[in-house]
């Protein structure tokens, strides 16, 4: 140890050496591996025939996959956060175990997607390590994103009431899952450039300082895109996530709460207008207020979901011992209800706490960065993930109206899984850069 090290506070140097060698990540991944294999073992013992064997093999391969990513990072000296990968591993392993338990075909496909997602994570942390260049082409991929969003309106397939899928035959692709990351990067770059003007305002109308149109026009376009999603793709949840993330980032960049309030007002106006204009929006709200008269029709799914949650109790029925398959399409948006039924309140709260840890680490990364672009990007990605988790969890528990989005890392769905692992990779890249500069 040289003298420079002695000058540092002991804790920090310990932490630095720990993160440097990724010891914490290794230990946590080991525990995650034991957890994953225990879950798959239960599937193996309770499910007859090939299903159990495939589940066990998929469990082993998943654990190996996460470890490979870890080892790669270890040897390339990657300094990204050590806690995010284990948290994500627990979430996606739980999702995988439950998908095998609910329907082995979905489990198998999710397993393949998970491998693809891990590869995407690896490539993100390798190719986009210098994520900063992403900020330079913002208008190009703003356009790409917009096109990607509009495509499903004309060529898309409607699924579960939302028209947001592109069908490629072999698999379906949901552009909005990927575009949300582009939106965060675009906003981070744009707000970084224009935040002073937006914060101060360049001309005054009465007591209010308003920035010139050059500054705020792109933001209005963003609001328009959210509404576009809402109106044409009938994708309420995604619209809500886009707009929530947008407001959060504008607030973080400008410190002006008035933007957030004004934006929320606009969104509420749009939402209440759509309540009167669109049947599917109205029916969602009615189901939320009182689903019981609609139990045989539109309210069926949500009621089955709260039945499952209510039947769970404190520790649940036990893995494989409940009846979550009574919920239609339980493997996508409702996987949390299945977890609550079979793992009880203990399992449900654990999942929420894992998302809280994810958000905590994400905010920490955003606070650690030195420049505003990285900080905004980290905060935006964290807000995106936190909001998405909150919106779907609140929906399946009937705390808020159900808006059909996936539960990150857990729900069945390739686009969602790969996109969220890319999001993880970007967060880790930002954290890597922050650590490098320490």
């Amino acid at each position: 140890m040289n003298s420079a090290d002695h000058d540092r506070p002991g804790l920090l140097s310990n932490a630095a050496s720990l993160f440097g060698s990724r010891k914490a990540e290794q230990k946590l991944l080991f525990l995650t591996g034991v957890y994953t294999l225990a879950g798959m073992l239960v599937i193996f013992l309770t499910m007859p025939g090939a299903t159990g064997r495939i589940a066990l093999q998929a469990g082993l391969a998943t654990v190996a996959g996460f470890f490979l990513v870890h080892i790669y990072w270890h040897f390339t000296g990657f300094k990204g956060d050590c806690f995010l990968l284990p948290v994500t591993a627990v979430l996606s392993a739980t999702g995988l175990v439950f998908l095998f338990r609910l329907n082995s075909a979905y489990g198998t496909r999710q397993f393949i997607w998970l491998l693809a997602a891990l590869l995407a994570l690896l490539l993100t942390t390798r190719l986009l390590k210098d994520f900063r260049f992403l900020g330079d082409y913002k208008y190009i991929y703003a356009l790409v994103g917009l096109v990607a969003l509009i495509l499903p309106i004309f060529f898309g397939r409607e699924q579960g009431g939302a028209k947001s899928w592109l069908d490629f035959g072999l698999f379906q692709f949901q552009p909005s899952e990927f575009v949300k990351i582009l939106v965060v990067l675009f906003l981070a770059s744009f707000l970084d450039e224009n935040k002073e003007a937006l914060a101060a305002g360049t001309r005054s109308v009465g007591w209010l300082n308003i920035p010139s149109p050059q500054e705020w026009a792109p933001l209005v376009v963003m609001w328009g895109v959210s509404l576009l999603l809402l109106v044409f793709q009938k994708d309420l949840g995604t619209a809500l996530i886009y707009f929530g993330t947008f407001l959060a980032m504008v607030y973080v960049a400008t410190s002006r709460i008035v933007y957030a309030v004004f934006g929320m007002g606009l969104f509420l106006t749009g939402a209440s207008a759509s309540y009167f204009l669109f049947d599917h929006v109205r029916s969602r709200v009615e189901i939320w207020l009182n689903p019981w008269p609609l139990i045989d029709t539109t309210g069926y799914q949500v009621i089955q979901s709260i039945f499952a949650i209510g039947s769970g109790g404190v520790i649940g029925a036990g893995l494989g011992q409940g009846f979550p398959n009574l919920i239609p399409a339980v493997h996508t948006d409702f996987i949390f209800a299945a977890i609550c039924e079979e793992m009880g309140l203990a399992g449900g709260v654990s999942v929420i706490i894992l998302f809280m840890i994810f958000v905590y680490r994400g905010i920490k990364i955003a606070l650690k960065t030195k420049d505003d672009f990285a900080s905004l990007a980290a905060a935006g990605l964290t807000a995106l993930l936190g909001l998405q988790a909150f919106i779907i969890l609140a929906g399946v528990t009937k705390m808020l109206p159900l808006t059909g989005v996936t539960l990150p890392y857990m729900s069945y769905g390739g686009s969602s899984l790969v996109a969220n692992f890319i999001l993880l990779g970007l967060l880790l890249n930002i954290s890597h850069e922050a650590e490098m500069r320490l």
Binding site: V252, L326, S375
Partner: protein, 464 residues
């Protein structure tokens, strides 16, 4: 900007924390109600995994069992319509009723040690088993009672007055619980209401069978009334209203009055007992309570004591007032006289066993009510014995055994009188108490008494 990020972090963590609180509310506070909600199919799904237990009669004959020979588990009721209302049914679409519903958790192995055994069985992929229930009901006697009812509207209850064990609980018309799917819509619309268990849920005017209650009420005020002689000219004038009797019985004592069912005497006894005295006796015989027999039963009803005019009191005393009772309640009233004034708690289920055959519940005879004193019961018993020997109830006589009984022909707005018989046998050492009613079938002595007689003879022949 860092400040703003911190605030954003608090907001996101706050939202998720609210979710934790809400989820706890849903799972812990709302959870039990959601689990029991009839639209929640989890109990039914659970049922599909369990080999549901069997319900046996007292001789070990299955009355409800599950058939696993076909691919789909099917509940079979071998006694069919003879035990339909008592055994009840379980049906995915139409719910559950009767003893099947009352002992659901035992039959499904969800109680006591079975709960843990079945969790283990489930985890190991082994068959899950439910427990068995053995009744006090004798299916042969039950069949005889149903045959004698012959599809007519009515009910029969036969029980052991010493213990309260119910041997027969028949309700007619009935239905075949094995064909519930096909006949459900008709069952609901049938004006004869075959789904109703008339034995426990019927509400009938008791007619002259009520006279044993009136006698108990009057003797409670003055035991010497048993020796008093009443003159019956064939009618009685109360407050200017003339109550007609069936005949001029001349000079009668209580025993003779019971034997010939003298309205004049019992109207006078009712006036002596008073509205309060009569009400007290009605209560003491448990006519205003639900008999705790383990399946849904109806509590009897009676006009409030204070509101009774002497005329109403007189007609109530002969069972034509606003009193409405079930056949089970009248069988228990007869049992009270048979058992020296004590009514034992009636029960249908003798033993409940868990899936390993260990007895988890064994019914023991216990006192339900003290209806009257042994002395009063003795006096009334003499009258009831006389009614079968040389009174209105002679058709209930059984050779080689002295039967005690009381007939009734209850007037009602629907047409012919309801034919009633209540009684017990043998009258010196009663082992069986019975109540028979046939709706709108005519006089009790001619219609109901022979049914009771045949049933008592068969029961004694069967060793009860």
């Amino acid at each position: 900007m860092k400040q703003n990020i911190l605030k954003l972090g608090y907001l996101l963590l706050g939202l998720l924390a609210v979710l934790v609180i809400y989820l706890s509310y849903m799972q812990l506070y709302r959870g039990p109600a959601l689990a029991d909600n009839p639209y929640n199919r989890r109990y039914q799904e659970y049922e599909a995994q369990v080999k549901r237990g069997t319900i046996y009669d007292t001789k070990g004959i299955a009355l409800a069992k599950s058939d696993y020979s076909q691919s789909k588990n099917r509940r079979v009721y071998p006694a069919g319509q003879n035990t339909a209302q008592v055994i009840g049914y379980i049906n995915e679409r139409y719910g559950r009723a009767g003893l099947e519903s009352a002992y659901d958790r035992n039959l499904l192995g969800m109680e006591g040690a079975d709960r843990f055994r079945n969790l283990l069985n489930r985890l190991l992929g082994r068959e899950q088993l439910g427990g068995d229930v053995t009744l006090t009901v004798d299916s042969a006697l039950q069949k005889l009672a149903m045959d004698m009812l012959g599809g007519r509207r009515g009910a029969v209850v036969l029980l052991d007055p010493r213990t309260g064990a119910v041997r027969v609980m028949a309700s007619s018309p009935s239905y075949d619980p094995n064909r519930l799917e096909d006949i459900w819509p008709q069952l609901l619309q049938d004006p004869q209401a075959p789904l109703i268990n008339r034995a426990t849920q019927g509400a009938y005017p008791p007619g002259s069978t009520f006279k044993i209650i009136t006698a108990a009420a009057a003797l409670a005020t003055d035991l010497s009334l048993a020796e008093k002689r009443f003159d019956c000219p064939g009618y009685l004038v109360v407050n200017g209203f003339k109550l007609d009797d069936t005949a001029a019985h001349g000079e009668v004592d209580l025993t003779r009055a019971l034997a010939v069912s003298c309205n004049t005497t019992f109207a006078q006894l009712g006036l002596i007992a008073g509205a309060e005295g009569l009400q007290r006796a009605v209560k003491a015989f448990g006519l205003l309570q639900e008999p705790p027999v383990g399946i849904p039963a109806r509590a009897g009803t009676m006009a409030a004591a204070g509101a009774m005019t002497p005329t109403e009191l007189a007609s109530s005393a002969i069972g034509q007032g606003e009193v409405l009772v079930s056949p089970l309640q009248m069988a228990l009233s007869a049992a009270a006289i048979a058992n020296r004034g004590i009514i034992m708690q009636p029960y249908l289920v003798d033993t409940v066993k868990d899936s390993l055959g260990t007895t988890v519940k064994q019914q023991v005879a216990r006192t339900w009510l003290t209806a009257t004193t042994p002395e009063i019961a003795e006096k009334i018993k003499a009258g009831m014995t006389s009614a079968v020997k040389n009174g209105t109830a002679q058709a209930a006589a059984v050779s080689g055994m002295q039967v005690a009984g009381k007939t009734g022909s209850a007037q009602n707005p629907q047409g012919q009188t309801h034919a009633w018989f209540i009684g017990f046998a043998p009258s010196d050492q009663p082992r069986l108490a019975v109540a028979v009613i046939l709706e709108n079938a005519g006089p009790g002595g001619a219609v109901a008494a022979p049914v009771a007689g045949s049933l008592l003879a068969a029961a004694v022949a069967a060793g009860y």
